[in-house]
C-alpha cells in the first residue's frame, strides 16, 4: 500500500482518490471504502455522500474553497491538489479551508507538489502529504517539515506573528 506523511509520521495511505469525471459528475459511481471525490462529484451527490463517514473531497487549483465552504466541517478529509508544483493556489485554498471554514480533519496535499514546499504547506494548515510519485523519499520529506522552526508571520500553526511574541 502506498504511504504518505501525516502529522510528521510515515503511514499507509488507506484512501483512494477518484479522478475528475469526464462525463456528468452526478453519474459517477463512488465505490465503497475511504474515497476522496472531486469537488464536482461532492456537489452533484452531496445528499447521498453526506450520509457516509468515509468520504473526503479534493479541490483542484482552479476551484474555490468557497464552493466546499462549511461542508468541510462534516468531512474527515479535504485535499488540495497541485496540478504542477509551481501552481501556488493550494496554499491559499488550504488556509481558507482551515481558517475560514473551520476544518479540523485531515488536510492533505495531493498532486505534483515537491518536498521543498512541505514546511510552508504545513504552515498553511496542511497536515498530510501524498506525493504523486510512489517512490518519493518520505523520510527526507519528513525532515523538510522542519526546514524552518521560527517564522515572522502568523500561520495556521502559529496564529501569533513573531512581532507579538518577541521578547
Amino acid at each position: 500500500m502506498p504511504k504518505l506523511v501525516k502529522d510528521g509520521a510515515i503511514i499507509e495511505d488507506t484512501w483512494q482518490r477518484l479522478d475528475k469525471p469526464e462525463g456528468e459528475a452526478a453519474e459517477v459511481r463512488v465505490p465503497e471504502g475511504q474515497v476522496i471525490v472531486p469537488l464536482s462529484v461532492w456537489q452533484a451527490q452531496r445528499e447521498q455522500l453526506q450520509a457516509r463517514s468515509d468520504i473526503g473531497v479534493w479541490i483542484d487549483s482552479d476551484e474555490s474553497a468557497y464552493d466546499l465552504g462549511n461542508d468541510a466541517q462534516s468531512l474527515p478529509l479535504v485535499a488540495v491538489n497541485f496540478p504542477a508544483f509551481m501552481d501556488g493556489r493550494a496554499f491559499s485554498t488550504a488556509r481558507l479551508i482551515r481558517e475560514r471554514f473551520g476544518f479540523n480533519g485531515e488536510l492533505r496535499a495531493v498532486g505534483g507538489f515537491i518536498r521543498d514546499q512541505l514546511c510552508y504547506l504545513s504552515r498553511c494548515g496542511v497536515n498530510a502529504f501524498r506525493f504523486d510519485d510512489d517512490n518519493a523519499d518520505l523520510e527526507k520529506a519528513q525532515q523538510s517539515l522542519a526546514d524552518f522552526t521560527e517564522f515572522y508571520q502568523a500561520g495556521v500553526d502559529q496564529p501569533q506573528p513573531l512581532f507579538r511574541r518577541r521578547a
Binding site: 474555490s64 508544483f85 509551481m86 501552481d87 501556488g88 493556489r89 496554499f91 491559499s92 485554498t93 488556509r95 481558517e99 475560514r100 515537491i114 521543498d116 514546499q117 514546511c119 510552508y120 504547506l121 504552515r123 498553511c124 526546514d147 524552518f148 522552526t149 521560527e150 517564522f151 515572522y152 508571520q153 502568523a154 500561520g155 496564529p159 501569533q160 506573528p161 513573531l162 512581532f163 507579538r164 518577541r166
Partner: protein, 554 residues
C-alpha cells in the same frame, strides 16, 4: 538602521542551511532543473548568459559600512572584483560559481544580508525613497513600515508561489522618489484630518511588456491594518491571477481585467475576514520598528554660517558649485545635507562598482555620514547625513575616487539594465548604448545646462531599465537576430507618473547618440527659460521631435 535579533539570525541561518541542502541535491542530480529553478531564484540566483547572477537584497536601500566591506570581499573572493547596483536598489554579482553560492549567502548572513526572494514569483525586496528620514518634504519616515513589510513578506508561507513576481514600494514624502505608481503595490504614507498615520494604497502598476500606472484602491488605510490588508490583496491575487500565460500573470492584468473597483471590492471582502486578526499592528509594534530608525547623533549646527561658507566655496570653485547643485540635496536638519555619489562616470556600465570602490565608499560613510549608505533605484549611492561644513572635503575625496561626476538627474545619469552583455532575457545590449550616449554628451557644462533629464535604457521589454518612465526611454529590440533600439519620449517616474510614447521606427546602435542629440536639440530650440525637457515635451508634443529625428537628409 534595523538590527537583527536572535530570531532574525536563526531564521536566516535556517534559510542558508536549506539552500545549501537544495544546491547539494541539485548538483547530485536528486533535484531536477525545473524543481531547482524556483528554489534558486528565491535565493537570488539566476542562470545567465555567461554565468550565474546572484542578486542580493538591500532592504529599502539601506547599507552600513560593515555590509559594504563584506560586499567588497565577496566581489573579490567569489566574483571578478566588482558588482552592480540594480534599478531596484539591490546588489548583483555577475560571475559567482553556483556551488559557491551557499557560502556567499552564509557570509552575507553574518552581516544581516541575504538574497531571499530577490527573484522568483514571490514578494520581492521592498523598495523606498533613498532620502527617507532626511528629506525635508517627508510626511512620515517610511523605513519602519518597510521593515515591518520586509519581515511579514520574508518566507511568507502562502505567497511563495504566486502567479508572477510581486513588488512593493513605500513612499513617505510628498515627492515620490520610489516610483510607487509603477509597482504591484505602491503605498503612500499619509496623515488623515486628525493627524493619524495611514496609507493610500495603489495596486496594479508596473512596467514590463504592458506598462500600467497603478490604481488607488483605498484612499486611507489606518496604519495598524497594513499587514492584514496586504494579505487580503495578495490572497485575491494568488487565487485569481492568471497562471496560463506568464506575460499576463502580473497583478496589473488582473486589476485591469476585473476593473479597479471590482478588484477593490474583492480585497475588501477578503479583508473583512482578516481585519483585526493578530497580525494587526499594535502601537508598541510600530514603536518597536520605529526605534530602529531614530535620528543619528546630529549636532546642533549653525546652518546660516555653513551655508555662507558653501556659497563662498562654490563661487571660488565652479566645479564644486556644479557638484553642489546637482549631487547635493537639502536635509531636514540644519547644517546637514544629503550627497549622491555618482556611479555613472562615462565609460563605466551604469551602477557598476568595484571591490575597492565599495571600500572607499565605506570609508567615506564612516568619516562623513554615520557609517551608513543608501542605494538608489537610479543606480547611485547616497551619503544621507553629511555636515555642510564638510562637503568641500568630501567632494575633493569623492572626486579623486571618481564618484563626484556632477550629473545626478541629468542626461548622463542613465538608468540602464545589464542588457545583452550579461542577461539571458535581453534582446539587445544596453551598456554600450549608454556609453555611446554618455560620450556624445561629454561636455559637462552642456549637460548641466540641459538640467533634469532622465534617460532610461532597457535591453528588453521586461523593462528593468524603466524605459517607459524615462523622459527619454530606449528599448532594445531584436529583429531577425539584429539589435535595434526603439526611442520613446515623455515618460515620468515621479508624482506625475506618465508612460512614454514611441517616437517611431527603431534605430541601429550606432545611430543612437545622434538620435538623442536631435531630440535634445528640439528641446533646446523650443524651451522657455523655466522649462525642463519634460515640460517642453508636454507643451509641444511628440510631433516636432518626430519630424526632426526622421527628417530625410537633404
Amino acid at each position: 538602521m534595523y538590527i537583527y535579533d536572535q530570531y532574525d539570525h536563526e531564521i536566516l541561518r535556517q534559510r542558508v542551511a536549506q539552500f545549501r541542502d537544495q544546491t547539494e541535491r541539485y548538483l547530485a542530480g536528486d533535484l531536477s532543473e525545473a524543481e531547482f529553478l524556483p528554489l534558486r531564484l528565491q535565493n537570488g540566483l539566476y542562470v545567465q548568459r555567461l554565468a550565474p547572477m546572484l542578486r542580493i537584497n538591500v532592504p529599502y536601500g539601506m547599507l552600513n559600512s560593515t555590509q559594504l566591506r563584506r560586499l567588497a570581499r565577496i566581489a573579490r573572493d567569489y566574483d571578478k572584483g566588482y558588482c552592480h547596483v540594480s534599478t531596484r536598489q539591490n546588489i548583483q554579482y555577475n560571475w559567482p560559481d553556483l556551488d559557491q553560492v551557499p557560502n556567499i549567502l552564509a557570509e552575507l548572513a553574518e552581516v544581516e544580508m541575504h538574497g531571499t526572494q530577490s527573484s522568483g514569483n514571490c514578494i520581492r525586496n521592498v523598495t523606498s525613497d533613498q532620502f527617507a528620514g532626511v528629506a525635508p518634504d517627508e510626511i512620515v519616515d517610511p523605513r519602519p513600515y518597510c521593515e515591518i513589510v520586509r519581515q511579514w513578506s520574508s518566507f511568507h508561507p502562502e505567497f511563495a508561489f504566486l502567479p508572477r513576481k510581486f513588488k512593493i514600494a513605500i513612499s513617505g514624502s510628498e515627492m515620490d522618489r520610489a516610483a510607487i505608481q509603477v509597482h504591484d503595490i505602491g503605498l503612500q504614507l499619509v496623515r488623515n484630518g486628525s493627524g493619524e498615520i495611514g496609507f493610500k494604497v495603489l495596486v496594479g502598476g508596473g512596467l514590463g511588456r504592458t506598462p500600467v500606472i497603478a490604481s488607488a484602491i483605498r484612499e486611507y488605510l489606518p496604519q495598524e491594518h497594513l499587514l492584514t490588508y496586504l494579505e487580503a490583496i495578495l490572497r485575491v491575487y494568488n487565487l485569481h491571477g492568471r497562471r496560463d500565460n506568464k506575460y499576463k500573470a502580473r497583478i496589473k492584468i488582473l486589476v485591469r481585467a476585473m476593473g479597479a473597483e471590482t478588484f477593490a471590492e474583492a480585497v475588501e471582502q477578503e479583508w473583512q475576514h482578516l481585519k483585526d486578526a493578530p497580525s494587526t499592528l499594535r502601537r508598541e509594534d510600530i514603536e518597536r520598528a520605529k526605534s530602529y530608525f531614530t535620528e543619528p547623533d546630529y549636532q546642533n549646527l549653525d546652518d546660516a554660517s555653513a551655508q555662507a561658507q558653501l556659497e563662498q566655496q562654490a563661487s571660488d570653485n565652479i566645479a564644486f558649485g556644479k557638484w553642489l547643485s546637482r549631487n547635493v540635496r537639502q536635509h531636514r536638519v540644519d547644517g546637514y545635507a544629503a550627497v549622491t555619489l555618482s556611479l555613472k562616470p562615462t565609460g563605466i556600465a551604469p551602477g557598476d562598482i568595484t571591490d575597492t570602490q565599495l571600500e572607499h565608499i565605506a570609508n567615506l560613510a564612516e568619516r562623513y555620514s554615520f557609517a551608513e549608505v543608501r542605494t538608489t533605484h537610479e543606480q547611485n549611492m547616497v551619503l544621507a547625513d553629511v555636515k555642510k561644513t564638510e562637503l568641500f572635503d568630501l567632494w575633493q575625496e569623492a572626486r579623486k575616487l571618481g564618484f563626484a561626476t556632477p550629473n545626478i538627474g541629468t542626461l548622463t545619469d542613465i538608468i540602464c539594465c545589464p542588457g545583452g552583455d550579461f542577461c539571458s532575457l535581453a534582446n539587445a545590449k544596453s551598456i554600450p548604448v549608454a556609453e555611446a550616449i554618455q560620450r556624445q554628451f561629454e561636455d559637462l557644462d552642456y549637460v548641466y545646462d540641459l538640467g533634469d533629464l532622465d534617460l532610461n535604457i532597457s535591453g528588453c521589454m521586461n523593462a528593468c531599465g524603466h524605459h517607459h518612465v524615462g523622459h527619454i526611454g530606449v528599448l532594445g529590440v531584436d529583429k531577425k537576430g539584429q539589435e535595434f533600439y526603439q526611442v520613446m519620449l515623455g515618460g515620468n517616474a515621479g508624482n506625475k507618473a506618465s508612460l512614454a510614447k514611441v517616437l517611431g521606427p527603431a534605430f541601429e546602435a550606432e545611430e543612437m547618440p545622434e538620435v538623442v542629440q536631435k531630440v535634445v536639440n528640439v528641446y533646446l530650440e523650443n524651451r522657455t527659460e523655466e522649462e525642463l525637457f519634460i515640460d517642453t515635451y508636454q507643451r509641444i508634443g511628440i510631433a516636432p521631435f518626430k519630424e526632426r529625428v526622421y527628417a530625410k537628409a537633404s
